[in-house]
């Protein structure tokens, strides 16, 4: 298949994953005072990178993701927004066989003040899991989990496999 068509197909997979996660999130009945309807999943584009520049003391330089995206056409990039506030960024890349989707980077906005504090990992995982199902992956793997984040992954359902990799099995949709 010509490269352009493949690239378009991949773009479709990514936007489908973001859209499906948004629809799933919309089904949630939250207690009064909580509102996740303003959460948006977008690609890491110029708008996201400009908003990222206003983060105080981030660990990673997310500008380099632009180059990674062009090098890895099947990679998935996620900017997690609450209204006009950029609250989280994530970059994911499947391995060659697509059996594993690897989380390369995941970072929430530094500080305690953003409205999606304590929900960035879960929101990112909703999109990643949809993406993994679309491309037919069997596992989501955290490539280099931060030590302090292991309990978060455990709550999300991740386990260490016999090779010491932190993984979550991707389940197919059931009706």
């Amino acid at each position: 298949m010509p490269r352009e068509r493949t690239s378009l197909r991949y773009q479709l997979y990514k936007s489908q994953a973001r859209k499906q996660a948004s629809i799933a999130k919309a089904l949630l009945q939250l207690p009064a005072g909580q509102d996740l309807s303003k959460v948006r999943f977008e690609p890491i584009d110029v708008i996201a990178l400009n908003a990222f520049e206003r983060w105080e003391n981030p660990l990673f330089c997310w500008r380099e993701v632009a180059a990674w995206k062009s090098r890895e056409p099947l990679s998935l990039d996620i900017a997690i927004w609450f209204e006009e506030q950029l609250c989280g960024l994530c970059f994911v890349n499947p391995n060659k066989s697509r059996q594993r989707v690897r989380i390369v980077r995941l970072e929430g906005r530094p500080g305690d003040s953003h409205p999606l504090k304590n929900r960035i990992g879960t929101l990112a995982m909703m999109v990643i899991d949809e993406f993994a199902q679309i491309i037919g992956s069997n596992f989501i793997e955290v490539q280099e989990p931060m030590q302090g984040a292991i309990p978060v992954y455990t709550k999300l359902g991740f386990k260490f496999d016999f090779e010491g990799r932190l993984v979550l099995a991707v389940e197919s949709k059931v009706s």
């Binding site: 999130k25 390369v104 995941l106 304590n118 990992g121 490539q143 302090g148 009706s175």
Partner: protein, 52 residues
């Protein structure tokens, strides 16, 4: 005799219908994530993954 024109089912499908379809097809992982979204995960660090 007037000929009835049928609308395509795709056009008639509303967003609510789409949501219903999705909800009936949520994987166990997705259902678990939705549960976690209600309360959040306490003490989630800002940095969750990546090479320093």
């Amino acid at each position: 005799m007037r000929k009835s024109i049928k609308k395509s089912s795709a056009k008639k499908r509303s967003i609510k219908t789409e949501e219903k379809i999705v909800s009936s097809k949520l994987s166990a992982n997705q259902r678990h994530f939705l549960q976690l979204l209600i309360t959040g995960i306490e003490d989630e660090p800002n940095i969750l993954a990546g090479r320093r």
